[in-house]
Symmetry: C2
Subunit: 185 residues, 2 copies
């Protein structure tokens, strides 16, 4: 099977919200049949692993209404219009944990739920952190938590950290560190 | 700040689709203000890392209409009603790559986009694989790709693998193997 691509036949916007909008698309499948695809349109996002000089990382506890739970996540947020992913990363660090970062390293970009959502999230590692002046967002309710990277990885394995972007980004940082350590042996 | 939880005041269903539905909720924030939350309701899903006896893993290339791209992903699918995550994992392995698995190991469960989606995905490692009789789904258009785990991790680092659940699950499997190797040194 060489042909995988679907062709858009018709697109209807069914919801326009503040954060997301929703389309109901009709597509032609590779075998000629038609099918519908429900698409959540999202502006894209950024998430950042903030790492202190001693190697500890800063996460935030945050209530997530969609899942009805407090989750432990790395600082993250939605891209504003005309903002680069790097600018967004620095803004979220300042608003959510009150830090500025001297260095941002791109880890990768991933689609969170490509079966129905357009959302692409850019993952960064932030180092050379300095406390920033009090500009945290007053409508964000967050509780910062500082952990060693090993503690964070243990919380992933134990199922205490349940947020996909956080799992992906922390494991990416850990795998980079491991690769460096193995190479240096 | 000890109180993080939001309280639901009102909920309106704004879209009912085949896969997802969408609600617009009004919530009371911890500071007493109100805000709206757009919620995509999803039945939940399962994704599986299928690992052959020689340690290679099987991924699938698949066109994703929401992002307009062919992505490389581990086999995955939406939970059917009354299906356990384990049953769903075995069904998706059969339908997507034509294998049965003698052993399923739960890796973790993660929320993919908890800012707006209820979707919880259960991640598994499947081993003791055997080819199953021809029962693959004729409306799924997939191209299986077999890689060593190191090749897959390299594709994550290079940005060729761009699917969040695939990144999280493969790195979890890799971190388990690394931890075992380090312990045995």
């Amino acid at each position: 099977m060489t042909e995988l691509t679907e062709v858009l036949i018709e697109s209807d916007k069914v919801f326009e919200g503040r954060l997301i909008s929703v389309r109901k698309d009709t597509v032609r499948l590779p075998n000629g049949r038609t099918s519908t695809r429900e698409v959540v349109v999202h502006p894209g996002a950024v998430a950042v692993v903030p790492m202190l000089e001693d190697g500890r990382v800063i996460l935030v506890k945050q209530y997530r209404h969609a899942v009805g739970k407090i989750l432990m996540e790395i600082p993250a947020g939605t891209l504003h219009p005309d903002e680069t992913p790097e600018e967004c990363a620095l803004r979220e660090l300042r608003e959510e944990i009150g830090y500025s970062a001297g260095r941002l390293e791109k880890l990768t970009s991933v689609y969170l739920a490509p079966g129905y959502s357009t959302e692409l999230i850019h993952l960064f590692l932030a180092t050379d952190l300095q406390p920033a002046e009090g500009e945290t967002d007053e409508d964000e309710f967050l509780k910062p938590v500082t952990l060693t990277l090993d503690e964070a990885i243990a919380q992933i394995t134990d199922g205490e950290i349940q947020d996909a972007k956080t799992v992906a980004a922390l494991l990416l940082v850990w795998s980079k560190q491991m690769s460096r350590e193995i190479t240096s042996i």
